[in-house]
Symmetry: C2
Subunit: 300 residues, 2 copies
C-alpha cells in the first residue's frame, strides 16, 4: 500500500511536508540563469537544474516533491520533458512524487489520463491529484489504475484558494456542504485501500487556509490522508494545519512551493544566504518549516 | 469576438457539429496502421495520419474539431507533439479547434494553464474546456487570457457522463442545483464577451444525455453557447439536442467522436465503405449526423 510507504517515510524523517516544484523562470537565481541561453530550451534546462539543486538540498529531510503540471505545460513539449526528468530525479534521490495535475473527465477519458500518469513508468509518479466534478465514473478509472500499479490519488475536496467557497461551501438541502459530500465520496472510493496506519491510498486535498474545514474534515474523513496546500505564501499557518492531524500526530502532508523555492529571497534568509546560496536557504527554510509544523502538531 | 466567427461558420455550413479526435490506436484502420512501425512513435504517426485524413474528409462540411487532450497525453511527449500538429493542421484547413483538456486550478496555476493553451500560438487552440470546481479565481485567469488573445472557453456545467448527477445535480438549500449555480456563474463570467448573436465567448459544456437539463439551462443561460457532448456512442439523441437551441435555431455545437472516427466500422456504413474507405465513411456519417440534427432543430 503506497500510503504506508509514504507515512513510513514521514515518520522516519519526522517531517510531514512536501516541496512544491513549479518551474517559474522568475524564481530562478541568476547563479543558475547565467549558465543557460535565453531560449525556451535554455529556460527549461535552467528550471531543471534549479529543481535538481533543490532536490539535492532537501532529499534527506523532506519525503516528497509536488510538481505542478501547469507550469511545465506552459513551457511546451520541452517543459513536459523536464517534468519527467524532475520526477525521475526525485525518485532516484528516494523522494515520493505527487504530480499536481488535477485531471478528471468522463470514464473512458479518465482512463487515458490514468494511463498517462499512473501507468507510464517514465513519469515516475506515485500520487496524482484529480478533480471530482464529474463524479464516480470520472474517478474510478484512476482508482483502478492505483490498485493495479500501487499508486495513490489526492482528490480535490476543499481547495486552498479564496473562491473555493463559491462551489465547495454551498449548503445542500440535506444540511451538508458540497465539500463534505465529496469528502464522503472520497472515503467510499478509498475504502478498499486502507493500510496499516488506518489511512487509504485514495487521499484528499484540503487547503491550509481553511482551519474550520480542516478540523471538520479530519473528524468526518477518518481514513483519508490529506495533502494540505496553502502553507506559507498563500497564508496558511502551522497552528491551523495541526488541526488536520489525528491523536497519533498523523494524517497529512503539508505542501510549500514558493516559500521553499524562493527562500533565498525571503526576509528571513536573504541576508544569511542570498541568491548565491539559494539551495542552503531552501534547506534552512525546510528545517524551519518542519520544526514549526511538527511542534504545532505535538502541542495540539 | 471568437464566438461570432464560430457561429458565422456554423451558419455558413448549416452544421452545428464538431468532430472529436481522440487518438486511440484501436480506432485506426489497418489501411493506415500497416504503414507505421509498432513503436510509440509509429503509433503516434499513425494517429496523426488518421486525424489528418479525417480532417481532409470533413473540413468543408464540419466547422470544428475537438481533440481530447487525455488521449494525446497518454501517448507521452510524442503524443503532445501530434496534438500540436493536429491543431495546426485543422487550423490550416480552416477549422476551429476546441481543446478538451478540462483544466482548472488556483489562480496563479490557472494562469500557467492559460499560458500553455490560450497564449502559445504553437497550439493553435481557439477554445479550451475548463473545470469550475475551484470557483472564480480558478476561472478568471482563463477569461483574461481569452480577452487578450481573442479566444473562448467552455466551462463544465453539466457533463454527459452517467455519474455527473452525483455532484452536479445536488440540490442546494436555496432550491437551486449545483449545475444551475455553475451556470449562473458562467453567465456572469461571460457577460463582457457577448457578440452580435447574443452569445458570449465564455461558453458552457452541457451533455446531450440529459434532455431535461439541456432545456432548463437553455432558458436559464440565455447568453451562453453550449458545447454538447454525448451524441452517438454515449446515447444522446438529436431530438434531445434540439432542446439546447433557441428560437433562432442557434445556441450550441454538438460533438461526436467515436461515431465519426469509427464510422467505417458501424452497422450503417460498414458495408458501403469498410476500413479501406474509412474517410468516406466518416464523411457519410458527418452528413447524416448534420442532417439529422439540423432537421430536429428546424422541427422543434
Amino acid at each position: 500500500m503506497i500510503i504506508d510507504s509514504l507515512i513510513d517515510k514521514i515518520i522516519q524523517m519526522n517531517n510531514p511536508t512536501v516541496m512544491g516544484l513549479d518551474p517559474r523562470y522568475e524564481f530562478i537565481p541568476d547563479e543558475i540563469k547565467n549558465n543557460y541561453k535565453d531560449t525556451n530550451e535554455g529556460i527549461c534546462q535552467a528550471c531543471l537544474a534549479f529543481n535538481q539543486k533543490l532536490i539535492d538540498s532537501v532529499c534527506d529531510i523532506i519525503p516528497a516533491i509536488k510538481p505542478q503540471a501547469a507550469f511545465y505545460e506552459a513551457l511546451g513539449l520541452e517543459g513536459m520533458k523536464i517534468l519527467k526528468e524532475t520526477c525521475q530525479y526525485a525518485k532516484e534521490k528516494g523522494m515520493f512524487v505527487i504530480l499536481d495535475a488535477k485531471r478528471g473527465d468522463i470514464g473512458s477519458t479518465s482512463k487515458a489520463y490514468a494511463k498517462a500518469y499512473l501507468e507510464d513508468e517514465e513519469y515516475a509518479v506515485d500520487f496524482l491529484t484529480v478533480n471530482p466534478y464529474l463524479g464516480s465514473d470520472g474517478i474510478l478509472p484512476f482508482v483502478e489504475a492505483c490498485e493495479k500499479n500501487q499508486k495513490g490519488l489526492f482528490i480535490l475536496v476543499k481547495t486552498s484558494n479564496p473562491s473555493s467557497d463559491e462551489l465547495q461551501n454551498l449548503k445542500l438541502e440535506n444540511g451538508k456542504t458540497v465539500y463534505e459530500t465529496v469528502g464522503n465520496l472520497t472515503e467510499e472510493w478509498g475504502k478498499n485501500f486502507i493500510g496499516k496506519y488506518g489511512y487509504s491510498s485514495i487521499c484528499a486535498v484540503v487547503g491550509a487556509t481553511h482551519p474550520a474545514e480542516l478540523k471538520e474534515l479530519r473528524q468526518k474523513m477518518p481514513h483519508t490522508f490529506f495533502l494540505i496546500p496553502g502553507y506559507g505564501a498563500q497564508g496558511g499557518k502551522a497552528e491551523d494545519i495541526a488541526l488536520a492531524f489525528d491523536e497519533n500526530k498523523m494524517g497529512g502532508i503539508v505542501n510549500a512551493s514558493r516559500s521553499l523555492m524562493l527562500a533565498y529571497n525571503s526576509d528571513l534568509w536573504k541576508e544569511s544566504y542570498g541568491a548565491k546560496k539559494f539551495a542552503e536557504a531552501t534547506r534552512a527554510e525546510a528545517i524551519r518549516m518542519r520544526d514549526e509544523i511538527v511542534n504545532c502538531i505535538q502541542e495540539k
